[in-house]
Amino acid sequence: MIVANTFFTRTVRTSPAVMIALLVVPVLGGLLGVLLPAFGWFPALGATEFGLFGFTELFATPGIERMLLLSYGTSLVSTLLAFVITVLILASYFNSPWLKRIQRLLGPILVIPHAAAAIAIGFLIAPSGFLSRLFSPWLTSWDTPPDWLFPHDPYGLSIILGLALKELPFLLLIALGVLAQPEIGKVLRQQHKVASSLGYCPMTGFFKVILPSLYGYMRLPILAVLAYSSASVEIPLILGPNTPPTLAVAIMQWFNDVDLSLRIKASSGAIVQILVTLSLLVTWWGIELLVKKCSAAWLTNGEREHGGMIIKLITDVITFVMVSTIILALLGMVFWSFAGFWSYPNLLPDQFMTMHWQSALTQMQAPLFNTLVIAFSSTLLAIVLTLFALESEQQSNKTISAVSGLIIYLPLLIPSIAFLFGLVWLFEQVNSQNTYLNVIFAHLLFVLPYVFLSLANSYRRLDPRFSSVAASLGAAPSKIFWQLKLPLLISPILIASALGLAISFSQYLPTLLAGAGRINTITTEAVTLANGASRRTSAVYALMQMLLPALFFILAWLTPKIFSRARV
């Protein structure tokens, strides 16, 4: 398509470059800011000689193997678990109305920030938690809370539970999103029908026909989940052990330690964290190869039925347990937020009151304001950049190159703990004093990839004949963009905005570091309070963290409906 050279088209044409630069410079610059101290360059401490002493010190840390193993193990197991359950749910409820219901139930979990989810699960599985109260004293004869393993168990089982419950809805929605794409979903469904007509049981048909094709589309999101979970801080901090903690948590503690020389060790740790993440990705790839090799014969052996009923039963049980876990965790949190004193083992609080909500809401105004300003600014930026970049794709008639496509996911694939500390150093170097801008910028790094991910498909899928007709009628590219494409895409744009807001709401480490601690948001307050004294206040903040994104998703979902009704 020949495109006129106007201000609009020029802006659009440069936007992919701007977007890539906005993502690459901070991430690579941040990595540099960690790489130098990791190898001993830290002038503020008088360390100006390159060397490996940071790493020597790191590996001399008591329990370092356990830390590495814990990071590696919890993220691998939780991702595997989430993936397997996702596949089981898809296989069992494929073409069944239950799939929609489960999706509707799990969807909201996706937008619950990690910190809030960890707090809720912690409340559930603690010795004095809802689960233990549910069975006490009638079954367990406990009248004081038991001194048991969870949370903070040394094997990281609580972390695995927390991570898996957070990852599962993400993977499931990604898979459903792929299946919802007409060119893929339709084909796969037809293939499944063919398989059924050939006498395959629906479950076996799913495994043999759909999964191999579907997996290809899910690989990148899975790797992102794996990378994220290996270096996440909130869940291991709130649910994990501390003798020793996971590597990422230890790095954060070293960075913040009184003993400033630990900074060098922390930087070395950040480099090792990247290696751990890489080795996880390689492991996943290895498992993938292995499964492919082992299942090749099975896929083509022509067998029509492989214990479909048993798998279905197992899936039913898993789904039931999972859903009730989520419901109980949420219920427990709601109870805590309204509880007076709640003596053990009573199932319900001794009194109910609104006092915690009242006092929290009066203290919450400033953080709430910050949360909203930052989220709206970073999301708006992300939406504009994404739309322009996608428009430039259409004007130049080719999709963003594979390299650029990967770069968009850079902030999701590189452990944020590894480059965020460097990013703060970078802000210092350019003397960026406006903490608000710094935080918005840091949030953009995480909001942008998700917004892009969420918008790209709808934008690319928009029928090109609309714009061809408009152009042939003499409409300028800018007019086509503003008056044709955007109104047609209003629904996905609003959903992407809600997603962007939710991502921004949930950011803990970027807010804390880029904001120099000056900017409090609901999330930073919630994490601070999670380690604090009051379960009640903590529950209020965690619920608030859940309500905010939910509110905007509902708005995003309702607005186009109201508008379209008004238009009719």
Partner: protein, 426 residues
């Protein structure tokens, strides 16, 4: 004068003696100078107040307690009214965050425009900032209200964990280790360290302490260390208040490790997991998982009861064999762009009005650092307010136990390192 005396004692030097007399003759004149310099100081302070007005002060202070946050909010209103200063409370989860920030600024050669104007600090954080020259020097002793702490007779005001403060930080409050328990579940709480050990044997899993280097956990270990070395000869005991050496470590620490080896199997989670801070202790006490616990800010207990975070039957007490106590301070980083405003705020924090408000249990309950005998009757009146108190606000044994002073800060690092090596991986 000490130096003069020493010189006079020199036996063979008549010359010095003459010089001493000469100096003595000069003394009255010196007092004149002193009076003059006093009015000078007042003028200088007025200048500081003037320059400090209409600016912002970013006060980096631990923000994990709502009561303290509310008190700082009150301070912000007051300094706005009285000095036209905008005080912003930057809530830290750990004071070391501020330390790291100033260090990062120094490493980026940001020597004038730092983000931290005032920081709530003591102990190891102070030692670390002082060591790396990250603090403004020689200002705290010139605050007009500093004299009210009676520093000549109260050496604790100018020593932070044994390290001389040299005017780098102004005292703000003081605290002592206070234990608390649920009187419905525990009839006889342990009143000495030895009793605590036997109590945990009878009630396994109902006591724990935060993982070092966390402040409160460290304080418990220091309390234990002092008590366990009580029967050592005086010269060995004194080493606790000097920098740790390999020799003193070998003399002092084994008693602590022996004690902990016995204590840990009966701690909460058999000592496999330690909570991260004192607030977690309070939460677990509220849940009923812990039955005896401790804190540095005794006033948080009645207020936690009022918010239903602790049972109504909670009572607080001090250990009979001693209670570790320390002073906390505020300091100004060397690169604060609002040095004068920060001084004005620090001075206000030391005012009888602010100190008396802080001491009320319903506000914060943090003991004042002022020497009440130094106050004028009007100033004293601030402290005379009586308040309604919950039973837990009355600390049992408060008058019949001694206060144990803080160890030299180097011990914290030593204890943490060896603790982590022994118990950090389980």
């Amino acid at each position: 004068m000490q130096a003069v005396n020493k010189i006079c004692q020199h036996s063979f030097a008549g010359f010095y003696k003459a010089l001493c007399y000469l100096l003595l003759l000069l003394l009255p004149q010196q007092t004149v100078f002193a009076a003059e310099s006093q009015s000078n100081a007042a003028a200088m302070w007025e200048n500081i107040e003037m320059r400090g007005a209409k600016q912002s002060v970013y006060f980096h202070a631990w923000g994990g307690d709502q009561q303290i946050n509310n008190y700082i909010q009150w301070v912000a209103q007051q300094v706005k009214q009285q000095y036209d200063i905008d005080l912003h409370h930057v809530k830290l989860t750990d004071t070391s965050e501020a330390v790291s920030r100033v260090l990062a600024e120094k490493s980026a050669s940001n020597h004038r425009n730092g983000q931290v104007d005032l920081v709530w600090i003591n102990g190891a954080n102070f030692a670390s900032m002082a060591k790396h020259k990250l603090l403004a020097l020689d200002w705290a002793d010139k605050l007009p209200n500093f004299a009210l702490t009676n520093p000549e007779n109260n050496p604790a005001m100018t020593r932070d964990f044994g390290v001389p403060t040299e005017g780098m930080e102004a005292p703000w409050g003081q605290a002592a280790l206070t234990f608390y328990y649920d009187s419905l579940k525990v009839q006889q709480p342990p009143q000495t360290l030895a009793e605590l050990l036997s109590w945990t044997k009878q009630h396994p899993g109902r006591f724990t302490y935060p993982k070092p280097p966390e402040f409160l956990g460290m304080s418990f270990l220091k309390y234990a260390l002092i008590i366990l070395n009580e029967n050592q000869p005086e010269d060995i005991k004194n080493k606790l208040y000097q920098a740790a050496t390999a020799e003193s470590e070998a003399q002092i620490l084994p008693a602590l490790w022996d004690f902990l080896d016995q204590l840990h199997p009966n701690l909460w989670r058999q000592g496999h997991h330690f909570v991260s801070n004192g607030l977690a202790l309070r939460r677990l006490s509220g849940d009923g998982e812990l039955q005896v616990s401790f804190t540095f800010s005794a006033a948080e207990i009645p207020s936690a009861i009022a918010r239903y975070d602790l049972p109504d039957s909670t009572r607080s007490y001090r250990m009979l064999d001693g209670s570790l106590s320390n002073i906390h301070f505020v300091a100004i980083p060397y690169n604060s762009p609002h040095l004068d405003s920060a001084k004005v705020v620090a001075n206000f924090l030391l005012s009888p009005e602010a100190q008396a408000k802080k001491q009320q249990t319903s506000v914060w309950g943090d003991s004042s650092v002022l020497d009440l005998s130094q106050l004028t009757p009007t100033q004293h009146a601030y402290f005379d307010m009586t308040e309604q108190q919950h039973l837990s606000a009355t600390i049992i044994n408060v008058d019949n136990t001694r206060l144990l002073s803080e160890l030299h800060p180097s011990w914290s690092a030593v204890i943490t390192k060896q603790w982590l090596a022994r118990y950090g991986v389980q």
